[in-house]
Amino acid sequence: MKIVAVTACPTGIAHTYMAAARLEKTAKTLGHEIKVETQGAMGIENNLTESDIRQAHIAIFAVDIEVEGRERFNGVKVIQVPLQEALKNPESIFAKIQRSI
């Protein structure tokens, strides 16, 4: 499965990046292809392009704050979870995805 994700937390120093690392690792283990955009103190990194989003089966928002450029995801199925969920139990997010498709 092709997945895109966005992580963002209030201070943008630590959890944004920790969650990104966690999602990438879990996806890999489960055999999914994932690209994670981080919206942290360094600004937006690893930008999701229009084609990334178009090709994705689903988008994960693991965020505690508003996602920047949310309109880019119009037309894509989005699952939004609190960022902590990506740290606490990332497998459950992927399980949810499986169920919803």
């Binding site: 120093i13 959890h15 990046y17 690392a21 942290g40 740290l87």
Partner: protein
């Protein structure tokens, strides 16, 4: 209404003093008025209050505040000359009478205790810290100077006799204060006694007493009624400062009563163990009567930051809080309490958690002190060039402050304050006591004493210096020494005598020619001869130097260097004379910029010439106090800079981050700039690239922590940043970390937590790694306890060369099991740092 031709003189003025017409300017005004027979009445047009200008008390009670319009009416035989004198005084001297009386440093009032104490359920009483420190002791409640009620006083006998008793009492109290004044060596203490002296000799006070006795009161009753009358008057003032003076009047009245009675009237509190004295307010005499061995701290209900007692507590290093509401009710006599006058509260009961908190706090403060002490002794730039960082001072209290802040000496000890705000010149003995104290306190440091710099903006009425059209270009500094030989000789003898107690040096202000230096040296030789004849010890080889304030000196350096041991650049005057622009005139002050390329070029030339002649050169003007200028000063190659003590730690920290070639290059580029603005831009860009400090140092790796709770861990991290000087505001940093924790726990599972924040409370982006001996609960996502803490603190606004990339890599690495294992297995700070350097960069 019938119009009469007024025979009186009058004029209107607006009070320009920022604290209003308080005790000291009022006493100077009364002094002038008392020289004339004419009646002088001041009316405050704001509140309609009248005052006999000859009475300090009456003038204070008129509550003249900054900006108030007042009329002074003069009527009597010598009204014209009185008018001329008063008017001149009010217009010329009065605006300069406001040298502040060591105003207590204002510290924002804290309202929450540290989280560790909050978690332990400790309730604190908050106050305003006016003298810093932490102390523990048993509560002793003291009542302030309270006048006895008039019922238990003796009845009047013969009015003549009663009047005589009052006169005798006034004379005796006057004499007693005068005697104390003679032995007083701190200028702060002397100013307080001077104010008391003025009050006891006040005409209004005497009038009121006489009037009451004439109406059949006994001496004692008259003093009590007078005391009530004045304290009532002052307590209604709208100015805090004047309300605080009410306790001074009570004090004077108590002293008069003591004399009339022939015995002490007030309860003496005897301290027998480490004590915390709690009172509504406390008179200076009561404070001084307390046994210093046992007095550990002072807690006052009344919020008086400028009271004389507060000033004394500060100068004696007694921690003090004021404005602690209902302290006498909330604190139980005999109970052990902690006064935290760093944070601003009293802990009313010492539980084991309070004990533990303050034990850890003591260690933190000791280690911070130790770390600061590393900065004592001359500091070097990153590439090893030494630069002395000295303090400017004008009293022994400031000398102590300089020491605490890690000064390498006193580059400018001002003495003109000794002459100001008093009726006559200080005696040689009085001066000797102050210089000797400075020499002793300095314990081997160099202390450069600048001889009196009077004139210009510093007026001294009893020297009868003529009014001038251009005082800054006139009769000031070294130029008045020839005429005031006796004053000069007494100062030089006093400095020389004190030089046998420490490393004192003499410096002359406002030198513009070689002749002045030769005369100054001749005066020193004269003083030396006099002392030798009297067989009084002094340092024969005392260093003699001059200030560089007048541009002509820059073109005479070869000749001058042959005559003196050292030179010090006074940038304030040098820049205003160099650019012909008055610093005090806001329309032109900007022209006299010390960052102007022309001025920098002048400085460069001065330093080069002096070093060419093999002499020492320092800088003691305001230019040295501005941290932004530091790279320029290092580039100049000065031997020393001297600045206000409070700025020293920051300046020293910055020096060690600078490199001489970079600074020299910066200076060369600044000198060829066209404008001050261009230089400013250059400095800003340089600043951005010079402040970077490593993210992590060994002191920030805390392995084997014994903290027992999340609160303690965060406190320990904050303390670690405080010890190495990365934060001065622990409260703010702690709250910033907790603000993030309060959103949701930073426990990321696997036994790791990452408390982090963005804050202005740190000087640099920083990491702190802490490993606990025993795991604790952190509210982690996996509900497992935590043993490893990696704290990330980002400075906001960001310094350039920020560390965001490092932080984000570190955050990602913490998700990597192998990295966590290796971090956890790190046994030394070095290992941890190496790992972080390899994996995170």
């Amino acid at each position: 209404m019938k119009h009469e031709i007024s025979t009186s003189e009058q004029f209107v003025f607006s009070c320009s003093l920022s604290s209003g017409l308080h005790a000291r300017p009022a006493s100077r005004l009364a002094e002038v008025a008392n020289e004339f027979a004419a009646q002088c009445v001041l009316t405050n047009l704001r509140n309609g209050m009248f005052a006999n200008l000859k009475s300090v008390l009456a003038v204070i009670a008129a509550d003249v505040r900054h900006g108030d319009q007042c009329v002074i009416r003069i009527q009597g035989p010598d009204e014209q000359s009185a008018h001329a004198s008063l008017r001149r005084f009010v217009e010329e001297t009065l605006p300069q009478c406001d040298a502040p009386l060591a105003v207590a440093e204002s510290i924002a009032r804290n309202t929450t205790p540290p989280r560790v104490l909050q978690a332990a359920g400790v309730e604190c009483s908050f106050g305003l810290p006016v003298s810093r420190g932490i102390a523990q002791g048993k509560v002793v409640i003291m009542n302030g100077a309270v006048l006895p009620s008039s019922s238990d006083t003796s009845a009047a006998t013969d009015p003549q006799l009663e009047l005589q008793r009052i006169k005798d009492a006034i004379a005796a109290v006057h004499k007693r204060i005068q005697e104390k004044l003679d032995y007083q060596i701190s200028p702060g203490g002397a100013a307080i006694l001077q104010a008391e002296l003025a009050m006891v000799g006040d005409v209004f006070l005497a009038e009121k007493l006489t009037e009451l006795v004439a109406r059949g009161k006994s001496a004692e009753q008259a003093v009590l009624a007078t005391g009530e009358f004045f304290t009532d008057l002052l307590r209604h003032s709208e100015s805090d400062y004047i309300r605080e003076r009410a306790s001074d009047i009570e004090e004077i009245c108590l002293q008069l009563l003591d004399e009339i009675h022939g015995g002490e009237r007030r309860a003496v509190v005897e301290l027998r163990e480490p004590s915390v004295v709690v009172a509504e307010m406390l008179a200076p005499q009561q404070f001084l009567a307390l046994d210093r061995r046992w007095l550990k701290a002072l807690v006052l209900e009344y919020s008086a930051t400028t009271s004389h007692t507060v000033i004394l507590a500060r100068s004696q290093g007694i921690p003090a809080l004021v404005g602690v509401q209902s302290a006498r009710l909330l604190l139980s006599p005999g109970r052990e309490v902690v006064v935290d006058a760093n944070r601003g509260f009293v802990v009313p009961q010492i539980s084991s958690s309070v004990q533990r908190f303050y034990e850890r706090e003591r260690r933190t403060l000791d280690r911070r002190q130790e770390a600061l002490h590393h900065a004592t002794g001359p500091i070097s730039t990153a590439d090893g060039k030494t630069l002395e960082v000295a303090a400017n001072a004008s009293s022994s209290e400031e000398l102590l402050l300089a020491r605490e802040n890690g000064a390498d000496g006193i580059g400018l000890f001002r003495t003109e304050m000794l002459l100001m705000g008093r009726a006559d010149a200080p005696s040689e003995e009085e001066q000797f006591a102050i210089y000797a104290e400075a020499a002793r306190t300095s314990a081997g440091w160099p202390v450069i004493i600048r001889t009196f710099d009077i004139g210009g903006d510093k007026a001294v009425p009893y020297l009868n210096l003529p009014p001038e059209d251009n005082p800054f270009l006139g009769y000031r500094g070294v130029r008045i020494y020839t005429e005031h030989q006796e004053l000069m000789q007494s100062q030089l003898r006093a400095i020389l005598r004190a030089s046998s107690f420490g490393n004192l040096q003499i410096m002359a202000p406002m030198i513009s020619s070689l002749e002045e230096v030769i005369q100054f040296k001749a005066a020193i030789s004269q003083a030396k001869r006099d002392l030798t004849l009297k067989d009084i010890a002094f340092n024969q080889n005392i260093g003699v130097g001059i200030m560089i304030e007048v541009p002509s000196v820059a073109f005479l350096l070869e000749q001058l260097c042959a005559e003196v041991d050292f030179l010090s650049i006074g940038t304030n005057d040098l820049s205003q004379y160099f650019f012909a622009a008055d610093r005090g005139n806001s329309k032109v002050a900007a022209l006299a910029s010390v960052c102007h390329p022309a001025f920098l070029s002048l400085l460069k030339d001065i330093v080069t010439q002096i070093h060419g002649a093999g002499k020492w050169v320092g800088m003691c003007g305001e230019m040295a106090a501005d941290i932004r200028h530091l790279p320029l000063l290092v580039g100049l190659g000065l031997d020393e800079i001297s600045l206000p003590a409070a700025e020293i730690p920051a300046i020293k920290a910055k020096i060690s981050a600078l490199r001489v070639p970079d600074c020299e290059q910066l200076l060369s580029r600044a000198i060829v700039c066209g404008t001050t603005k261009e230089v400013g831009g250059l400095l800003e860009r340089a600043q951005a690239s010079q402040t970077a400090q490593p993210l992590l140092t060994e002191e920030l790796v805390l392995l084997g922590s014994t903290s027992q709770s999340k609160e303690e861990v965060i406190q320990e991290i904050v303390d670690a940043f405080y010890i190495v000087g990365r934060t001065d505001d622990r409260h703010r940093l702690e709250e910033a970390l907790w603000a993030r924790e309060d959103v949701y726990s930073t426990g990321l599972g696997y036994g790791f937590a990452t408390p982090h924040c963005k804050t202005e409370a740190v000087s640099n982006d920083s990491i702190c790694v802490l490993k606990l001996d025993e795991p604790i609960n952190w509210g982690s996502v996996d509900n497992e306890p935590v043993r490893m803490i990696v704290s990330i603190v980002m400075r906001e606004p960001q310094n350039s060369g920020g560390h965001l990339q490092v932080f984000s890599t570190l955050a990602r690495q913490l998700m990597n099991e192998e990295f966590r294992d290796r971090l956890f297995r790190g046994e030394t700070a070095r290992e941890v740092m190496t790992l972080l350097a390899q994996q995170v960069g």
